[in-house]
Amino acid sequence: MRVGVITFPGSLDDRDAQRAIRLAGAEPVALWHGEHDLKKVDAIVLPGGFSYGDYLRCGAIASHSPIMAEVVDAANKGMPVLGICNGFQMLVEAHLLPGGLIRNDHGRFVRRDQMIRVENNRTDWTNKFDESEEIVIPLKNGEGGYIADKATLDRLEGDGLVTFRYLGVNPNGSLNDIAGISNERGNVVGLMPHPEHAVERGFGPNTADAMRSGIDGLRIFTSMIAKVLA
């Protein structure tokens, strides 16, 4: 089972995403933004980082990359696609997911071990979680504030498309404490926290158990594997 990780100029967490896929039991496949070739992958991860410096709007320039046309196509055909942080921003810019992501309300970049709740465990990327399960995933962004107009928010809430919600602290001013959302089909998921940084003991977030020991992120990837193999 092959999972593509697209590298854009300025991608940072691409190798981390590859490691997470490997630890979850699939084969990571490096994809390059400038090509049109998805190399027969079964699922795609758009990794975190600062593609094109995130200068215009985060993810905006990357969403015009050649490979994004293929990603949109594959997503519309049902392939599991995950956008993490900058990848989430690209999905929004590519209109695969609704709404927008803007500068954190406090104006600063923030890195923290974030508690989130899995609001929807029926997506391709969350089927290994219990409903309403509370997990800890590192978060790091400067522009993670989720916004959308009222109608969109109502639809997201009404249709259960809010996939993850911040608990305890809202780290960036996201409306409705939204940390991640999915499309209706549940194959496309975007979230601001970084599950690929919670896959290996010793390098993950702090938990009540022990420092740097959280591996809740791993199940995002095993969920996708289960879905593809199903």
């Binding site: 100029p9 300025g10 940072l12 190798r15 200068y55 600063r108 790091k140 690929e196 940084h197 390098f203």
Partner: protein
């Protein structure tokens, strides 16, 4: 607009009498005279530009060179064992085993960070990272050492916001985990904050690259960002004089950084290295093309020909002199074999990086630069890059130091009552230099890369190098300007000792040193004396600990008006750990462990945080230092870590035992019961000293009960003083720090006090 025509070599020869603005460029009359003597004629304006930037204090180390030599001389065979590249290159390279090497260096960007804190700090990170890339390494982490003015001064917030924002922006955007640093507030840095940045890279032994241009006919290629008017005059005017005399320049002195361009440049360089496509490489930093061409040529076959018209410009109005001096960021210069040029250009194009071939390596022994078809530079590159002026500046013992040292903290009143000690304890916890720095560090990503085994607020940052074996390194940096003001020799030794101790606490074995020596004006003989003593102290201490200085940086002219900063020699120590899985964290995570104090406590309050915070006092002599004890402590902790006996290890430094306990309980909310009577009895002192003394070679460690006998046995076998001083106890809401018969403080209160300070001023 008429094109500015550069002064040619022929013109210079024909017009010897022409007056040149050497003084405005920071050159002294005798230096200008020497340039004329070297060339046998007056320099062209382009040559003058090159000599002026390259002979500036910043680039030539003219005031510090005679002292820095010690670092290369005070070495033993053991110190050379792991050293693949020593002082003098862009950064030192240390063999860490299994075919891996690490390169690291700390550098200053102080003056630009006062003028424009955000861009100044950002480009500081960018510059040091390029040093690391130019060694052939992949950068894997950064650290930042910051000194600001008084926390409540109206200008401090401006500088803090900008500097921290700039470091966060540039470092995060490069995808380099920030794993540690220092934050100090002191009025002595008011008009002259210190922004030092450290970068670390890793490489396989065979990937080592050096900055030299060898192989006649090889192409000289400039790639990366276009050259603009950024920071023209920055190198000479900013770094060799204090800011108030910058004088008029029509080009901006600030540089704007583009971390995205640098990130792409990093990946591009690594792909070039992997393809074996470069023979030599040099980053462009201070003095831009002047520096890169003259250094590459000097370190290689000695000759180079450059066509300056081929430099891609962002601003077409730049003159030849300005192109030579421009400090535009995110540029590199490579030496490429002609037959590999095509492959080189293909990689560069893949990354959308702009490139131009400037010229080639020659065997003429001359650096010749053409512009507009005319020869505008014809020099021996060594006279520009290597044989610059060397000064033995006058040194003078500062008369004031005797009075300062005589004014010991021992005369200060000491509390004996629990309530007062409790208040003092909390005052220290909340003091700007000991308070929690999360306001700053929460803006830094330490997750990126997935190899960060330890980061702030642990004693040292630690990175895994090899995923299979777990091989990794740890780095800590330290400098206590207050100690250095009292005694620069001892202060520098103490800085090294503290960094060494911090690294040792993680279980890593110290192996190499980098430093950034921040001082006042070298033209002030008292400052020069402080500098001389600090370098001697650091050199001697490195020799004693048998770890070599592999590189560093000197920053002079750090002063507000005539008032120099405290001598601030920032010292970074790199340690090696065979398997990061065995790392020892510095805080408590479990209840029911025994707490041991290692080392002896003396009444040493001079220069301490207690004296400064409680009494506003600075005087006396810094704590006494035995590097043998430091070594013994390090070996003990490494040994115990290897046997898996330690749950945590935290060194004692600023704020003494009290602060170490506060940090240990606050981190994960684990309380403790502690008793001081055994220390007081054994070491013979009062409560204040037991809590706040800053005696060296001490640490607190926690040990599971079942390992007690083994651990105490280990200490006794090694003859290291050990005392059980408490037990970890209580978590979360119930957690308290209970110092028996003295005071009790809920951990929540410690956290509240410690966490409130920085946000109060900056959030």
């Amino acid at each position: 607009m008429s094109r500015h025509v550069a002064d040619t070599v022929a013109n210079a020869a024909a017009t010897p009498e022409k007056e040149q603005p050497f003084a405005a460029l920071g050159l002294k009359p005798d230096e200008y005279a020497r340039i004329r003597e070297i060339l046998g004629r007056r320099p062209t304006s382009g040559e003058l530009a090159m000599y002026s930037v390259m002979w500036s204090e910043h680039c030539s180390y003219k005031s510090s060179k005679i002292y820095l030599r010690q670092f290369g001389q005070k070495v033993t065979d053991k110190m050379r064992e792991r050293l693949m590249v020593g002082m003098g290159e862009n950064a030192g390279v240390v063999d860490i085993g299994e075919g891996w090497a690490v390169t690291f260096k700390v550098e200053s960007h102080n003056h630009p960070s006062y003028i424009e804190p955000f861009q100044g700090a950002a480009t500081g990170v960018g510059g040091i990272v390029r040093d690391i890339i130019s060694m052939g390494a992949r950068p894997v982490a950064v650290m930042d050492q910051l000194r600001f003015g008084a926390i409540d001064h109206p200008d401090t917030a401006r500088v803090v916001h900008g500097v921290v924002g700039g470091i966060s922006f540039y470092g995060n955007c490069l995808g380099l985990p920030n794993i540690g640093g220092e934050t100090v507030f002191d009025a002595v840095y008011q008009g002259n904050p210190l922004v030092n940045a450290l970068a670390v890279g890793v490489l396989r032994h065979e990937d080592l690259h050096l900055a030299n241009a060898s192989g006649v006919g090889n192409k000289v290629v400039l790639f990366g960002a276009r050259t603009g008017g950024d920071g023209i005059g920055g190198a000479s005017i900013l770094a060799s004089d204090s800011f108030d005399s910058t004088g008029p320049t029509k080009r901006p002195a600030v540089q704007v950084g583009d971390p995205f361009a640098e990130k792409v440049l990093i990946e591009c360089c690594l792909e070039l290295y992997a393809g074996g496509l470069v023979e030599g490489i040099q980053d462009l930093g201070a003095a831009g093309i002047s520096c890169a061409t003259s250094e590459l040529a000097s370190n290689g076959d000695g000759g180079m020909f450059v066509e300056l018209d081929n430099v891609l410009l962002r601003d077409p109005t730049l003159t030849a002199e300005e192109i030579l001096m421009s400090e535009s960021q995110e540029r590199m210069m490579a030496v490429v074999k002609p037959e590999k040029l095509e492959a080189f250009l293909a990689v560069v194009a893949k990354w959308d990086v702009e490139t131009s071939v400037l010229g080639e390596v020659t065997d003429t022994g001359r650096l010749i630069i053409h512009h507009g078809g005319e020869e505008i530079v014809n020099v021996d590159p060594r006279t520009v890059a290597i044989d610059g002026p060397v000064y033995e500046r006058p040194v003078a013992y500062p008369a004031w130091i005797d009075a300062l040292q005589a004014n010991s903290a021992s005369a200060l009143p000491r509390a004996t009552e629990g309530d007062e000690l409790r208040e003092q304890f909390l005052a220290l916890v909340a003091s700007p230099n000991l308070a929690d720095t999360s306001y700053i560090t929460d803006q830094y990503d330490y997750y990126v890369g997935g190899n960060t085994a330890l980061a702030f607020p642990d004693d040292a940052g630690m990175i895994r190098v090899d995923e299979e074996s777990g091989l990794g390194f740890a780095i800590a940096t330290d400098a206590n300007g207050r100690y250095c003001q009292l005694d620069p020799y001892e202060g520098a030794r103490l800085a090294l000792a503290e960094a060494f101790r911090n690294v040792s606490m993680t279980g890593a074995v110290p192996a190499a040193v980098t430093d950034c020596l921040n001082f006042g004006s070298p033209e002030n003989p008292e400052v020069m004396w402080q500098f001389m003593r600090s370098v001697e102290g650091l050199g001697d201490a490195c020799m004693e600990l048998e770890i070599p200085v592999t590189g560093g940086n000197v920053s002079f002219y750090n002063q507000t008006g005539d008032q120099p900063i405290h001598p601030t020699p920032v010292v970074g120590v790199l340690g090696i750990i065979d398997d990061v899985e065995r790392r020892v964290p510095s805080a408590w995570q479990d209840e029911g462990n025994n707490i041991y104090l290692l080392g002896v406590t003396r009444t040493e309050l001079d220069g301490s945080a207690w004296a400064g915070t409680i009494h506003g006092h600075l005087g006396g002599r810094p704590p006494q230092l035995s590097l043998n004890d430091e070594k013994a402590l390090a070996h003990l902790v490494q040994g115990a870590a290897l046997e898996g006996l330690l749950m945590s290890a935290h060194d004692l430094s600023e704020g003494g035992l009290a602060q170490a306990l506060a940090e240990s309980v606050a981190r994960f909310g684990i309380g403790a019961r502690v008793w001081l009577n055994d220390i007081i009895e054994r070491d013979g002192m009062d409560l204040t000293s037991a809590l706040f003394s800053e005696s060296t070679a001490r640490a607190i460690v926690t040990v599971p009960r079942e390992d007690d006998v083994k651990f105490v046995g280990l200490c006794e076998a090694r003859g290291y003083p050990v005392l059980r001083i408490g037990v970890t106890d209580g978590r979360d809401y119930e957690a308290t720090l209970h110092v028996q018969d003295v005071f009790t403080v809920p951990v929540a209160e410690i956290r509240e006090r410690s966490n409130a300070t920085l946000p109060h001023y900056f959030a």
